[in-house]
């Protein structure tokens, strides 16, 4: 099953399986000592967008970093080792879940402070232009990060200078437990704000991986042509608690019914449904992928746990270049 559409489903299944297994281990072992934000339920945004980029393009993200990292092709073993705080982690155990990076595939970094990577992505894309390169930068952030002033400042600068950046807002309706209604005025939208700043903007069903992929291909091409920045607002939904492996329907800020209805609109189920006529064996394929990726993540976890922790004698390394010590 080698069609692009099947591959998109496969990539989502991989992220889902990896994160579900990681969440179980996180909860049961208490050994991944790093605040972790799972993207379970939001896989279509990362997969749909990253699959439209080349390995030369850069992708940044916020704290909900695993899905964009993996979708861009980030090394799974380095991710798992990072969560366990091991020297072999992608940030050598210094950064944790919120500081993922894999430069070899163009995952340029994720960060823990809201909005930081929005302006940073604009800066990288600006540098690509100055160097005469055809690369673009993509930045993932939530509707909560769109509250920050840096979002408005970045849209403005990118529009003025026609910077080849694609802003990807994963709108999952909440900032921790605060709904959109207390943060954004009624009748407004993130894409509307981008459009007002002069950024080409679209709103897309973020749980429809094919729609996201099509919109992202368009956006990437637009940016790459030098015709300016694009913003995609992708409607999606987080299934688990804001941070950590658990669920949160008992926290009082959203109803079980709301969560259930979004879970019924699971991006993997929806994509499989859409593909079934064309690929009658899709369900068996999904099951086979799940088994394959379960094995892959269990093996990665076993290996990560056996790896050494960083040497405490090297605690200071990297704060400055060695020469500055």
């Amino acid at each position: 099953m080698a069609s692009t559409r099947a591959r998109l489903i496969r990539d989502m299944v991989r992220i889902r399986t990896v994160e579900e297994v990681l969440a179980d281990h996180y909860r049961d072992e208490q050994e991944m000592r790093t605040p972790t934000h799972f993207s379970i339920g939001q896989e279509a945004t990362a997969v749909g967008v990253c699959s439209a980029t080349t390995v030369e393009d850069w992708v940044y993200s916020g704290h909900r970093s695993h899905a964009p990292y993996l979708a861009k092709g980030g090394d799974l073993e380095a991710l798992v080792a990072e969560l366990y705080g091991k020297e072999a982690g992608c940030a050598h155990g210094r950064g944790g879940s919120m500081h993922m990076i894999d430069q070899s595939v163009g995952f340029a970094g994720s960060a823990a402070i809201l909005g930081e990577m929005i302006s940073v992505a604009v800066g990288s894309a600006w540098a690509f232009v100055r160097a005469g390169e055809q690369r673009i930068a993509v930045t993932f952030f939530g509707d909560g990060a769109a509250d920050e002033g840096v979002f408005a400042e970045s849209l403005n600068f990118a529009a003025v200078h026609r910077i080849p950046v694609v802003f990807v807002c994963e709108n999952n309706l909440y900032s921790i437990s605060s709904p959109l209604s207390v943060r954004h005025a009624e009748g407004t939208s993130v894409h509307g704000r981008a459009a007002a700043a002069g950024v080409r903007a679209r709103s897309v069903d973020g749980n429809d991986v094919f729609a996201v992929h099509a919109a992202a291909r368009d956006a990437v091409e637009h940016a790459r042509r030098g015709t300016g920045p694009v913003l995609l607002e992708l409607a999606t939904y987080r299934w688990r608690a804001h941070v950590g492996p658990g669920t949160d329907h008992d926290h009082g800020y959203r109803s079980k019914e709301e969560i259930d209805s979004w879970m019924a609109g699971c991006p993997i189920l929806r994509a499989a449904d859409a593909l079934r006529a064309e690929e009658p064996d899709i369900d068996a394929a999904v099951e086979a992928w799940r088994a394959e990726f379960r094995q892959e993540i269990h093996a990665a976890i076993d290996r990560a746990k056996a790896l050494p922790f960083p040497d405490t004698a090297r605690l200071l390394d990297g704060a400055y270049l060695p020469a500055a010590h």
């Binding site: 790093t34 705080g85 500081h99 509250d147 950590g244 605690l315």
Partner: protein, 345 residues
């Protein structure tokens, strides 16, 4: 007197001040949610509702500016950040306006007594941008008061002082203190700024500390006592104003100084305390000053690195032994104060 936890003391102080002063409102991200900023804003929300306990958009910069404007117009804002690191997004309004408002407009047009709480989140791999203690950063700027309550009583008392005083205040609270219990006055009695506290009397070495480090110093003092060394622990309570008198009197008595902080040494709290002693009682020192502070790197996530990174009671014990001319002791390792904390946040 009855006992409360540190978080209950903050909650009670907030509610009592809000009852007595209609002008006070609370603003912060998620102040109304189930966890209620570690429990500290929950009762206030339940009592006063969203008109006075306001869930803010993620807009730290503008929120700090709104607080200035609200205070200029007669309101009393209490702004809450569940990580002190988010205060860096509020630096301009806090440093360029809040601290300078009264002075810059001539000193006679009124000030902006904005109270800002920031929580330090050390432990469980909080990492480089979720565990910083920026008290010295804010204490650098004239016009602000900065306090670091170490006990439940002071958590309430210093907050009450902040909410009833005329000066803008930054309060830095360490997350690891929230479950600490202690006696707390029922009434909203202010703890004045600039008045330190002898947390434990002693005669051989002075340990000056703030916030969490006061407790680490007290634990260290117990171990030192087993070695026959009597350590006096000074809790400064506020960094600005700083109780120079209590520091200098203690050092004049003991002749030895260790300063312990949860932040870096350079240009920080430990540097300031050492400077105060050097200025006022230089001849009292019988040994060079020792500073217990963070190593010069950002905070790492990995558990062994994190444990090596954060100084604690054992580090203070070693520093005290060194200034007393004693050899490093074979003392049992002390457990981290945050031991037992369950992730993820």
């Amino acid at each position: 007197m009855r006992t409360l936890t540190y978080w209950q003391a903050i909650s009670e102080g907030t509610v009592q001040c809000m009852e007595r002063d209609e002008r006070i409102f609370v603003a912060g991200e998620g102040v109304d949610d189930v966890s209620g900023s570690f429990g500290t804003t929950k009762e206030a929300f339940d009592r006063f509702g969203r008109r006075r306990v306001i869930d803010m958009p993620n807009a730290e910069n503008a929120t700090a500016g709104f607080a200035v404007g609200a205070a200029a117009a007669g309101a009393r804002p209490l702004v809450v950040h569940v990580r002190a690191d988010f205060l860096f997004l509020a630096m301009d309004p806090l440093v360029n306006m809040t601290a300078k408002w009264r002075y810059t407009y001539g000193g006679d047009k009124g000030g902006v007594p904005v109270v800002t709480r920031g929580v330090v989140g050390r432990g469980w791999g909080q990492g480089s941008t979720h565990s910083q203690s920026p008290h010295a950063t804010f204490a650098h700027y004239a016009g602000l008061h900065v306090a670091t309550p170490a006990t439940p009583a002071d958590a309430k008392g210093l907050l009450v002082q902040a909410l009833t005083g005329d000066t803008p205040v930054v309060l830095i609270e360490n997350r690891n203190l929230y479950q600490l219990t202690g006696e707390v006055p029922v009434e909203p009695v202010p703890t004045p700024f600039g008045v330190g506290r002898i947390a434990r009397p002693g005669s051989d070495v002075t340990v000056v500390a703030a916030s969490l480090m006061v407790h680490e110093a007290e634990r260290a003092a117990e171990q030192l006592a087993e070695r026959g060394i009597s350590a006096e622990v000074v809790d400064v309570r506020s960094l600005r104003p700083l109780d120079e008198g209590i520091i200098c009197e203690s050092v004049a008595k003991t002749g030895r100084l260790v300063v312990a902080d949860t932040s870096w040494a350079r240009y920080g709290f430990t540097a300031e305390v050492a400077a105060v002693v050097a200025e006022h009682v230089p001849h009292a020192l019988r040994a060079p000053v020792r500073r217990v502070s963070l190593p010069d790197s950002p905070a790492p996530v990995s558990r062994p690195l994190e444990e090596a990174f954060h100084p604690g009671a054992s580090t203070i014990v070693s520093a005290c032994l060194a200034v007393c001319g004693e050899t490093a002791a074979e003392l049992p390792q002390l457990a981290d104060v945050s031991a037992g904390f369950q992730g993820p946040f």
